[in-house]
């Protein structure tokens, strides 16, 4: 079966298969509750109905069609019309069935009875639970001001209600999960381009990926587009101390020494500026501080960089020339979880500047500005409380703090010190700092300073396990959610919402209901005097056509401008241009251009890097289906390093840092830089109500030291140095 090759466009192909699925699934007629024919076979089966929804197993929000039979979700399929996810659903999205029917779901409100973490609970009615919460919040507000309650709203589609609640309640102390994730990157691009960009992977011809692993840490549409672009001839170069799946499928992979990425990019831009490989017209119009920058990087030659990062100088030179030749349809991939080093903002700035020199801003195959979606945040009054302190508790602790996100790491330190003022309450919703934030022992220490911790979630996460009041939430398949605006590459600026696919089980109540009920008890009922439908209407006021589109297709696309948004308007930076030289940094005593500092090293110690697979999300690993792919994490180490330590494959080792010690099995793997060890997130849960990961493998939160990015305050996840020894006894 050999036929002559003719290139088949993957795009056409994707569309074609989408079209097949669409017509076949009866999608045009699929308006929420379409009954499809029952399956063949002897026994007649109940009809399967199909319902649009949006996945929530990670933050990507891929389009889903839920198949429901006899009132149960039996299968989740991708929504072929959903461009952001390119008509796919990853393993985790498929496993949402086990998330929904997890026997360990929280079922009723629970009040802690014994000591924190002891697991003694008393069931409450919602009435009792809400009364209790309102009473505690009032007591804290009276004694410690309203800023005495910290809010962690997670990244759920209902999180906006908790943020609104926090603001009306009067606390500035809101911190999101992003403070463990991508604030360093956001900061770097804000301070270079005035915006946080999206990558136009699909149309790119040359991509350098450093400090990201998009083929495993799935991000839509980038992951899918990367493979598509690669097929269309895009060259992919990966720098990673670990041989990831992204590395495995790249054209070139360099096992870079951890934490030396900046050296590589300074040298790359050294070549581009020395050899004048940039576009002079673009430089003239768009770049601020090019001459200063060119002078600054003259010292950072490829030969110098080779000594730091371990990548040969001739390769750095060649890659610089190649990518410059492919520009502007070329990029340094901006990355996602960019919170890795104390110097992260500057490391990411060195990448942002390299992008600027590729003149790829706002152009096909480059990095793009946000597009207009049209979803509005409904207005609400934020009251003034006279006795509140002047600012958030972590204010001024990092020069580039992003104000509405804060820094969990710095807030936690401030709470423990009780300075500049005390915080005594914590309201967390679907976020699990106990398992995701570095230095779990410190989070436990922080809890000692808190009088009242309330957690709303689907299961008893580690954070819930250490709370005082636990509120059962419906899963994303059981609730109606407000409109959410999504962006991603040039493909989409879209709006979506969720309607419940099945009724909420047990006594689960959504965040809107909880906020409404609490607002009545706390004396600001007017802030939540709307129904979800009314709220959606307000959100879509400027795009009423979105209503019908979302009902018909599960998604609305805004036909807004994609490229050239800034061709005729100034950037939102101080210089109104792309700032290679950042004037504000200079003013504040920070390096206006990235200056290389070698990462810390210690004789006999390894740098611990963390990450995940394509089938697990952060701390949400307690899933009966997904656990079958991998039931425990291990410590990855190069065989030569292990030999030097006298360690053998499979044995149990102790991994010790200044923050804590964990024990897990050793896995020897040649795809590791020799100074680096790796472990995956999501295991070693403290909560016995997560039986699949409780005491299995080890938790990254236990062993990671808590460092922060100097500029953004973001938690720096790769600063930990560990010793690895044979477990004794």
């Amino acid at each position: 079966m050999k036929t002559q090759a003719k290139t088949l466009s993957r795009r056409g192909f994707l569309q074609a298969s989408a079209a097949v699925a669409a017509t076949a699934a009866g999608v045009p007629a699929l308006k929420g509750h379409l009954a499809t024919a029952h399956a063949a076979g002897a026994a007649p089966q109940a009809p399967v109905t199909s319902h649009y929804t949006v996945c929530d197993m990670c933050f990507n929000r891929c389009g889903m069609i839920a198949r429901v039979q006899n009132g149960r979700v039996v299968k989740l399929d991708p929504n072929p019309k959903f461009l952001k996810s390119r008509g796919m659903l990853c393993a985790r999205g498929n496993a949402a069935v086990d998330h929904l029917y997890d026997p360990n779901r929280l079922k009723t409100p629970l009040l802690r009875k014994g000591a924190r973490g002891e697991g003694k609970w008393q069931q409450l009615t919602w009435e009792q639970a809400l009364d209790h919460a309102a009473e505690q919040f009032t007591r804290i507000a009276e004694k410690y001001t309203r800023c005495g309650v910290m809010f962690s709203p997670g990244s759920d589609m209902q999180s906006q209600f908790l943020i609104r609640f926090a603001e009306v309640f009067g606390s500035y102390n809101v911190t999101s999960h992003e403070t463990l994730c991508l604030l360093s990157k956001n900061r770097a691009y804000l301070d270079t381009f005035g915006e946080t960009p999206y990558a136009d992977v699909l149309y790119s011809k040359y991509i350098i990926i450093s400090g990201a692993n998009p083929l495993e840490a799935i991000i839509t549409p980038d992951t899918i587009d990367l493979m598509e672009a690669r097929k269309n001839g895009c060259k992919i170069v990966v720098l990673d101390p670990r041989y990831t799946k992204t590395a495995a499928l790249a054209d070139e992979w360099y096992a870079i020494r951890p934490g030396t990425d900046m050296a590589f990019f300074l040298a790359l831009t050294n070549v581009i500026t020395e050899e004048r490989l940039y576009d002079p017209a673009f430089a003239e119009k768009m770049l601020f501080g090019l001459d200063e920058y060119a002078a600054h990087v003259r010292q950072y030659t490829p030969e110098w960089a080779a000594g730091e990062c371990g990548i040969p100088a001739e390769d750095i030179r060649r890659i610089a020339r190649e990518i410059a030749a492919a520009a502007p349809a070329a990029m340094i991939y901006p990355g996602r979880r960019s919170s890795d080093y104390e110097d992260s903002t500057q490391i990411r700035r060195s990448m942002a500047i390299a992008n600027a020199l590729l003149s790829n801003w706002d152009r096909p195959g480059g990095i793009l500005a946000s597009r207009e979606v049209g979803v509005r945040a409904p207005y609400f009054d934020v009251p003034w409380y006279d006795d509140n302190p002047d600012d958030r508790i972590d204010h001024g602790m990092a020069p580039g703090l992003i104000h509405h996100e804060g820094s969990f790491k710095l807030m936690r330190d401030a709470i423990i010190k009780e300075e500049p003022y005390p915080i005594r309450g914590w309201f967390t919703f679907k976020t699990n700092f106990m398992q995701t934030a570095a230095n779990r022992n410190k989070t436990l220490e922080m809890l000692k300073h808190l009088d009242f911790v309330v957690n709303a979630d689907i299961v008893m996460s580690d954070t819930a396990w250490y709370s005082d009041l636990v509120l059962p939430s419906p899963s994303f398949l059981e609730r109606n959610d407000p409109v959410s605006a999504l962006q991603g590459s040039s493909a989409c600026a879209c709006a979506v919402w969720r309607d419940a696919v099945v009724p909420a089980m047990h006594e689960c109540r959504d965040m809107l209901w909880i906020c409404t009920e609490l607002s009545k008890r706390l004396g600001f009922p007017e802030s939540f005097d709307f129904t979800l439908d009314e709220y959606r209407k307000l959100q879509l006021e400027s795009i009423p056509e979105a209503f019908e589109a979302i009902k018909a297709d599960g998604v609305y696309y805004n036909p807004s401008k994609v490229y050239g948004i800034y061709f005729d308007s100034p950037l939102k930076t101080q210089a109104k241009k792309i700032e290679l030289f950042n004037q504000r940094y200079a003013h504040e005593g920070l390096d206006p251009m990235p200056v290389y500092k070698a990462p810390r090293r210690k004789e006999g110690a390894f740098r611990l890097v963390v990450g995940r697979t394509a089938f697990f999300t952060h701390s949400n690993t307690n899933n009966a289906l997904l656990i079958q792919f991998k039931d425990e994490n291990t410590l990855w180490m190069h065989p030569r390093s292990a030999a030097r330590q006298g360690l053998v494959d499979g044995e149990m080792v102790e991994v010790a840092s200044a923050a804590g010690t964990v024990t897990l099995a050793l896995r020897l793997f040649e795809g590791m830089e020799e100074e680096t060890v790796y472990m995956a997130t999501g295991f070693g849960a403290l909560s016995p109500e997560l039986p699949l990961v409780h005491n299995r493998g080890a938790s990254i939160a236990e062993v990671l030291e808590d460092h922060a990015d100097f500029i953004s305050g973001n938690m720096a996840m790769h600063e930990t140095l560990v010793t690895v020894t044979r477990r004794v006894g």
Binding site: A39, D77, F615, F629
Partner: protein, 251 residues
Amino acid sequence: MKKYAMVIDSSMCIDCKACMASCKVQNNVPRGYWRNWIKHTIPDFSQGSQTRTHFQPGGCMQCDNPTCVQACPSGATYKDTQNGIVRVNEALCIGCGNCITACPYDARFRHPDRRVPDKCDFCFSSGRLERGLLPACVDTCPTKARVFGDLNDPDSDASRLLREKPSVRVLARGGIDTKPNMYYVAATAPTDWVGEVEFPGAFTTMATLVNPVVKVAVGLSALGVAVMWAKQIFSPDREESEHESSAPGKD
């Protein structure tokens, strides 16, 4: 008449396991068992920056010359002439397990509760095809590395891809061509996961000589019921189904 086939561009596979998860949910595949899998090459790190890994999705090949069907003494395993799918009529299965060893692709396992062979049937019995849906693995695949369609329809995705790209098939070792209906675009690697067809020794003669008679007899009579009852009691669990790259593990 249809001739369903899967065409796989394994160079697009990112080993995300979405296909495996999707299949398990759609077909209620029991814990620890899989109807499809991803195999991978062992990276050769002496290649330095050129080190690569190739991921190769697989599953039942829906062979045109299915050795599993030949090995089945009761006629329970058969090739559906309407669509080319190799299926199992559970009512006729005597639980002998011959089909499991006779498959060189290791595509079958014994269902631990139902005690009958289980394998991919392109989502036929789950009703997806009839409802006009693609098989669960194909539908969910992020990169559409897996493509499905009717080879008798020149406009199907599978036919088109086969026409436009060179393809190869993974063949059994030992000289038996099972004529698989799973095509790999361009390259297949790894290829070492294919085994030899193993007809149970005593069975080889029976399969060729007695087989048609037995099939008719079992197919016609209540004998089938009797043996079915016997198999529930006697058939041992077998572990052949553990595909090494899909088995759970510490990783």
